[in-house]
Amino acid sequence: MSISALFGEGFEAALLSCSLVLLVPGAALALAARRAVIPGLAAFGVAVLALSWLRFSDRGGGYPDLLIAAVLALAVIAIAIPFIVTSFAKDAELSSVPAGLLAGAAAAELWRPCVGAEFGVLLNELPDRGVSGFGLMGVYLIGALSPLVVLGAIDHLLPERILDKVETVWVAIGGGILALLAFATAFGLHESLISKLFEWSVDNV
C-alpha cells in the first residue's frame, strides 16, 4: 500500500458526495468556533480519526442514532456556553475543542465512505492491523478533510475587524447547522438532510 496513493485517494474523496457527512459538520464547527478554529478543527479531526478507526477496525462503534444525536446536541451546547456564560466569552478554545471532539465523534459514526482501491486495501486489513492501521487512516483522513484545513486557513487570514462583524452570525449559522443535524439524526433523517444539502450545493454552486 502506497502512502502517497492513500493520501491522494483521500484527497479525491474530499470531492465526492460520500464525504459530505464529514465536511458539513466540520465546516459548521469551523464557522462556530469563533477565534479558535484551528484547535476546534484539530479536535474534530482527532475525533473523526479515533472513532472511525474504532468502527472500521471492528473494535467499537455502531452506536444508535439517538446517542449520536445527543453527542451532536452536546457539541451545540459547548458552542453556546461562551454566549450564555459571559465569563467564558474570551476563552474560545474552551468551547471549540470539546465541540470539535463531540462533532467529530458524531460525524465519524455517521460516515459511510465510498471506497477506492487503496482505502479498500486498508479497510480490508484494518481489523488485523494495529497502530499502523491507525496511522494510515490518519493519512487518508488528512486528504479527505483537506477542505476543512483550507477553510480554517481562510478564517485565520481574515482581518480582525471583519471577524468582529461576522462572528455572531457565523456562530449562529454553524451552531444552527449542527443543531439541525442533531435533530435530523435523532429522527433518522440525517441522510436526507445531507442529501438535500448536496443537491442544493450541486444546483447552486
Partner: protein
C-alpha cells in the same frame, strides 16, 4: 500559528492537490495496475495471499511452463476459499431490475456475486467495467451477479432513476432495490461501505468479502475456483 505558516500549509496542500490532479490525469491505468497489484479482500488475507506465496514458489520451480497451463494449474491447485460469516437472506426489497426473480433464493445452486452499490457512488461506477468482464466470462458457466442497490442520497432512491442508471451504466445483471438499506445494514453490520462485494457459493455460503474497488483478480479467482470445483 502565524499567517506565514498558514500560507506554507496552503502551498503544501496546493502542491499535493496538483500531484493528485496529475494522478487523476494519468487515468485508470495506474488505478487498475495498483489495484491489481494489491490483494486486499478478507478472502485474500486468509487464502489468496497464501496462494500467491505458494504460486510464487511453484512458478519459480516451473517457470518454463506455458502461461495457459499455469493459469489452469493455478485454479486447480488453489486452496478453497474459506467459508466466512453467514449473511441473512435479502429482505424488505422494493423490487428487482433486469430479472423476473423475486428473491436471492431464486438463484440457489449458482455461484453468486452480491455487490452493494449505489449509482451515484464514484467508486461503485469504477467497478462496473470489471464486473461486466466477469459477467461476460462466467455467466455462461453459471455465475449470477446480483447488484444490491442501497441508495446514499435522495435522488438515488427513485426506482425509475435506478433503472435509467442501469441502462446508462451498462448494468445488465439483476439488481435488487434495497431502498430502505435494510440489507446494507444487516449484511455489513457496523462496517458499512460502498461498494462491497461478496461471493456466495452453490450452497449459499459466503466465500469472499471485499470492500471498495480493486482485487479484481482475487474475485475472478474465487469465482473460477467455485465454478470449477464446486463449494
Amino acid at each position: 500559528m502565524n499567517r506565514s505558516q498558514f500560507f506554507a500549509i496552503l502551498v503544501v496542500i496546493g502542491v499535493l492537490g496538483a500531484l493528485v490532479a496529475t494522478r487523476i490525469q494519468l487515468g485508470s491505468e495506474n488505478d487498475s495496475a495498483t489495484s491489481e497489484a494489491s490483494p486486499s479482500s478478507q478472502q485474500t488475507d486468509s487464502a489468496t495471499n497464501d496462494d500467491t506465496t505458494s504460486d510464487d514458489a511453484t512458478s519459480s520451480e516451473t517457470s518454463s511452463d506455458d502461461t495457459a497451463n499455469n493459469e489452469e494449474a493455478e485454479v486447480e491447485s488453489a486452496d478453497a476459499p474459506p467459508v466466512l460469516d453467514p449473511k441473512p437472506a435479502l429482505a424488505n426489497l422494493d423490487g428487482w431490475i433486469n430479472t423476473d426473480a423475486t428473491s436471492l433464493d431464486d438463484f440457489d445452486g449458482q455461484v453468486r456475486v452480491v455487490e452493494f452499490w449505489t449509482f451515484g457512488c464514484f467508486n461503485c461506477r469504477n467497478r462496473i467495467s470489471h464486473t461486466q468482464e466477469l459477467y461476460a466470462e462466467f455467466q455462461p458457466q453459471g455465475l449470477e451477479i446480483i447488484g444490491v442497490h442501497a441508495p446514499e442520497f435522495e435522488r438515488e432512491r427513485d426506482p425509475a432513476a435506478v433503472e435509467q442508471a442501469t441502462v446508462d451504466l451498462g448494468v445488465t445483471w439483476p439488481v435488487a432495490l434495497d431502498t430502505s438499506k435494510t440489507n446494507f445494514r444487516a449484511w455489513q453490520e457496523s462496517r458499512r461501505f460502498w461498494p462491497r462485494v461478496y461471493v456466495l457459493d452453490q450452497n449459499g455460503d459466503v466465500r469472499y468479502d471485499h470492500i471498495g474497488e480493486g482485487d479484481y483478480d482475487g474475485l475472478e479467482e474465487t469465482v473460477a475456483y467455485l465454478i470449477e470445483n464446486g463449494p
